[in-house]
Symmetry: C7
Subunit: 85 residues, 7 copies
């Protein structure tokens, strides 16, 4: 079997670094990853929340935040969010 | 492995303090965290409920309230709700 | 760990008293709690059902009623429903 | 712990009697309960199905019918359906 | 405990006979039941599929068909479908 | 118990033959079945994908394709797809 | 039992190669597969994201990306995405 990077490994390497999280709803988050569990519930710090509204993208600054892994679509480790893409 | 803050640890530290809870529906809650379980069902006290309606945000004061963890998107420990952001 | 009130404890203390139940659909219920199980399926008695319709809130009186815990958003123990808030 | 009526107990007492079942879709059922299992899948007989359509409530008579418990919102044991409320 | 008919018993008795299956989407099926499993996935033969479209009910004839039990709302054993009701 | 054809048996017999797969979204697939697992995730080859769009049915040719069993509504073993019905 | 290609086998063979991933939302991804787990959470590199919007398809370039397997509809191993079809 070719060597591979397992999903939880990828997240684990990102602890202490920036990460961009896209959820199933209209919300995206960029922040520093402090921790996570097997259900990919995630603890972020120094967070910017991007909310897609009919009037464009609304940005909200948050302190420590816990995201429900069940609601996450995708993660981009090392990215500072949609403005970085 | 870098030291990390696990999701349930973050919630546990918040017992007795204020917390802002955003659910998958149109409802948000701010209140004092009294307890929680492994499914992140949460008991809050001294609660303000924010309901997003077509006519703007409706606020409802509640006593002790139990929230279904299955329906929670995100938590902001230490925050007094959307007016605090 | 700070002393806390666990979710099922909160419900257990409410047996024999009034409780307000908000579901994921357009329905809310207020009634006397007769019993519940680990999935938070709930047996209520002396129930008023509040159905949000386009023409306002419709109220229906029910005898003993069983609610599917899977469909519940939040509980407010000790409350007699939305008119009490 | 106060004496309580457990959800499955309530259904079990209803075997052989009338029951009103409201599902997550636009369908309600009233009939005689013949049996059920741990997932609250239910076998009814002598059934009237109420389908909420844009043109009002459509009624359909059915023989023995099996309902998927996963799709059930609430049960009203002893009731003959919405006309009885 | 009063004698009852368990859900899987009801389906088992129907093997080799006609059955009407209503799913959560806009599709209904009538056919001869050849088999099923514990998840109520069902194998039918000699099938008529009824698809509710804006232009009325479209009927499609199918050979052996496997239905995902997860998607089934209700079953009417012994019925030849909506035209039989 | 009458002899029956179990769901996974029906699929197993179809390995190496054509199969028509209808999913919960707007997509249908016809192709040769190469393999499947207990969750009815399916590997197809020589695939035609039918996408229902507002401008009619769009057809896309695909090589080997893996379908998420969780998203499948129904299977018609031996069929070459909607044009065959 | 005819020899077959199991779903996880098909993905495993694709490690180090290009893969096209279609999710339940409006997003598709093409990239190099670096790894995956039993829930088919997937790590991709050198990624192009295709977002279906009312104004047509928006393309976003991403570095290493983790996709939630729960949200995946289908995979086309060896494909470079919708432009390749």
């Amino acid at each position: 079997m070719a060597s591979q990077i397992l999903p939880l490994e990828l997240i684990d390497r990102c602890i202490g670094s920036r990460i961009w999280v896209i959820t199933k709803g209209e919300r995206e988050f960029a922040g520093k990853l402090l921790g996570f569990d097997d259900f990919v519930n995630m603890v972020l710090e120094d967070v910017t929340e991007y909310i897609n509204t009919e009037d464009g993208v609304k940005k909200v600054r948050l302190q420590q935040t816990l995201l429900n892994g069940n609601n996450i679509c995708m993660l981009v480790p090392g990215s500072s969010g949609p403005e970085d893409a």
